[in-house]
Amino acid sequence: MAEGKTITLNMGPHHPATHGVLRVEVELDGEIIVKATPYIGYLHRGIEKLAESKNYQQAIPLSDRLDYASASANNMGYCTAVEKLMGIEVPKRAQYLRVIMAELARIMGHHLWIGTHALDIGAMTVIFYAFRDREMIMDINEEIAGYRLTPTFFRIGGVAADTTPDFIKKVREFVKWFPKALQGYHTLLTENKIWTTRTMGIGPISAKDAINAGLTGPSLRGSGVAYDIRKAFPYSSYDDFDFKIPVGEKGDVYDRYLVRMEEFAQSIKIIDQAIENLPEGPVAIDSPWITNPDLVSVQTDISELARRFVLHTKGPVGPDKEVYHAVEGAKGELGFYLVGDGTEHPFRMKVRSPCFYLASALPRLLVGHMIADAIAIIGSIDVVLGEIDR
């Protein structure tokens, strides 16, 4: 534009490429982005305020709807945080089941990422293959928890139900099938000329800047920092499995893409190890204060009925303590800061949402790039608005 005049363009909140209701106000000098200010809050539902009026068990479905692309990963975060607050230990079998569900959720999240990211940049066919595989995971969710996208399979003190034979069969099938599909994605994209030119060198961020901006998860590992909560602060018996942490160097869109593709493979390795040596035993802690009695004994036994009634009306009690516990969600460090006050309601629940900080780094990432690259960059940091706005 002559004499330095710039146009201001409003991307969103209703925009096909903003992965939801993110609005980025971009100031363009021709095609080059001079200034970018993202606006969020269009999906703010007040989940933290709602959690304060529910008891610990009732707040689990709320955590499902934070990062709805990978629901079980949030449940893992919330439930392990509450268990750390209450100081209870979950039986081994339940931990393994939780790891399987969380890793499947991570893969589901990455499927959505690869599908929409490629679609934004123009590769139409990838989303069809990605969602075909995602449907297989949805079937597994439905098989064991009864619901596809937001299974809410976790409970405080364990998981809701034991495995069904079909579940084991389907997971094994998926573990056998998925590496071939992953290879398919690689052939479609990794050496694809258009893909590499659109992604290499775009939106680079140095390790120091990434850390300073609070990035975590694949976006941080893309810049070369091997920070993964599953290794740094192991939880839910992750240290039983061996898996690698993929790390990039330059921290551009392509590196982040490679990191996530490698994470697909690593997650499959974890699931494989978990499903093979799934230990026997109960799936929920057998403390009468926390676990619901099973439905059959409730029909015949007054003490079970009385206990079930109190558990449903009051539910487990959180001690007067504060605790911060984070897990490795699909998008990064998903932390829960829980404050208990001796009653059955959480006094305060703060969700540390990784996408919130990814979106806050957008101005640093977008400036200096062309508007078309902005689409690629937004796709590469893979934000989900449910988690940003809470």
């Binding site: 809050g41 703010h44 919130f356 979106a359």
Partner: protein, 165 residues
Amino acid sequence: MDIKGIVSRLEKTDPGAIDRVSGENEITLNFNDFNKAMQTLHDDKSLCFDMLVDIVAIDRIDRMPQSHRFDLVYILLCSKDFSRLLVRLAAGEDNEVPSVSSIWASADWAEREVYDLMGITFSGHPNLRRILTWKNFEGHPLRKDFPLEGKDFDQQFDTTSIEDY
């Protein structure tokens, strides 16, 4: 670096900053030399807490008259040895907390969210305005005295009443 190392290091650089140490990785800082202590936590070579993971604001209205109302907890991470430190700061209802957005870039949005939902103002913040709720939203929702369903839950909603940045 473990908690004892951190405390001894901080005692040397700015004495009297630490009010008390509780739990296995939590320290409470005094209000007036809070900013300097955070700066050393970030810059000091051996501490180097270079990532601000999150800022948590808790409304302790029930112990209001005796002691301060808000508790601010800054969660810091050192990317060298992946060790985590919780820094607690007590803030009253009307005093301005010094902003740390000049030290960590991630504090910019985090402080805006705390201001928006809890109503704590930060001095020295580049542009402290609402981030999750809309421009003419009255009140701060996460305060304990704010009703869950909002102030005008039963009136008919009208879209023109929403003004945004």
